[in-house]
């Protein structure tokens, strides 16, 4: 069984630190791509995600069992994009602005992510609007593996800090 370990030991956990570098609602331009960084997914990061949501499926955790299963090896749970969203974006990305409230998301799944995959993200704000005195941004995201295959694609809405 893989040991659960931080997906990125060098990750800046103080989201206030670069807060002044991040785009505000006024500055976010719908259609403009977000800067992203490739991320190599590990078995240990998958194991930590599984621990956090109580996943015990051997397909995600047990190399021998996963090898004998339908995917021929360990895969990540579909919702691993929760981690990938932060792993594939830099510290000045506006998704990290303190007070960003997630209002809802939809995701479509193509093929599973696997340990060893170098994952890339194409992302942008797609729209922004005001509703009941709250500032919303719609974002869309597509994650690819190193073979250029789509892992998953998603759309979400966040309420921006004021």
């Amino acid at each position: 069984m893989a040991q659960a370990q931080s997906p990125d030991p060098n990750f800046e956990t103080d989201f206030w630190k670069d807060a002044n570098l991040r785009k505000t609602w006024d500055e976010i331009v719908p259609g403009q791509p977000r800067q992203t960084i490739p991320y190599k997914l590990t078995q240990e990061a998958i194991a930590l995600y599984c621990k956090a949501v109580g996943e015990t499926n051997p397909l995600y955790l047990d190399e021998a069992a996963a090898k004998a299963g339908p995917f021929g090896g360990i895969i990540a749970p579909p919702a691993i994009h929760i981690l990938l969203m932060f792993a594939c974006t830099p510290a000045n990305d506006w998704m990290r602005s303190p007070g960003t409230v997630n209002a809802g998301q939809s995701w479509s799944y193509n093929i599973p992510a696997r340990p060893g995959d170098t994952i890339t993200l194409q992302a942008r704000a797609l729209d922004k609007f005001i509703k009941r005195e709250r500032l919303f941004v719609v974002h869309d995201n597509v994650f690819f593996n190193h073979n250029g295959e789509v892992i998953c694609s998603g759309r979400g809405q966040t309420i921006r800090p004021m």
């Binding site: 109580g54 749970p77 929760i82 809802g104 998301q105």
Partner: protein, 147 residues
């Protein structure tokens, strides 16, 4: 709880998910696993303030923790039957706080056969210990035609 068999499934059938106890520790673990260290989930002092018209009164669980629990329920149900989790859409209705116990559940809404495959649409929801719905949405699972 119904088994994931496309032919036998019908609208109204239910899928049960596991109970999940939310604590400061579970929220912190989710921060570490997701790299989402938004102070909404960490900083009690910050959470004493107002967010527009909303005051949460303390740290709250990540909305995506609900998403992860719904996913876990769906894949635990579908994967043994050879079905594939293809889509999940959710919206958050109420904040979840340390001390809450939440549980996802699903209800089969519709079945659809397309030119190349078979699909099941599922209404999903997460409720807390008071029976309040904290998250709701819809999922789609594919039941490939067996060879």
């Amino acid at each position: 709880m119904t088994t994931a068999n496309f032919d036998q499934l019908k609208a109204g059938d239910s899928i049960d998910g596991p109970a999940f106890a939310v604590s400061r520790e579970s929220i912190r673990l989710f921060c570490d696993a997701s790299l989402d260290y938004n102070p909404l989930h960490l900083d009690d002092d910050y959470m004493k303030g107002d967010f527009g018209k909303t005051n949460f009164g303390g740290i709250i669980m990540h909305g995506m923790n609900n998403f992860g629990l719904i996913t876990r329920m769906l894949t635990d149900w579908a994967t043994p039957a050879g079905a594939i989790h293809r889509r999940l859409e959710t919206r958050w209705l109420k904040p979840v706080k340390p001390g809450d116990t939440i549980r996802p559940a699903g209800t089969i809404k519709a079945k659809q056969t397309t030119a190349k495959s078979r699909w099941v649409v599922v209404d999903v929801a997460v409720q807390n210990q008071r029976g309040e719905t904290v998250a709701a949405g819809e999922a789609m699972l594919e039941f490939p035609v067996s060879a």
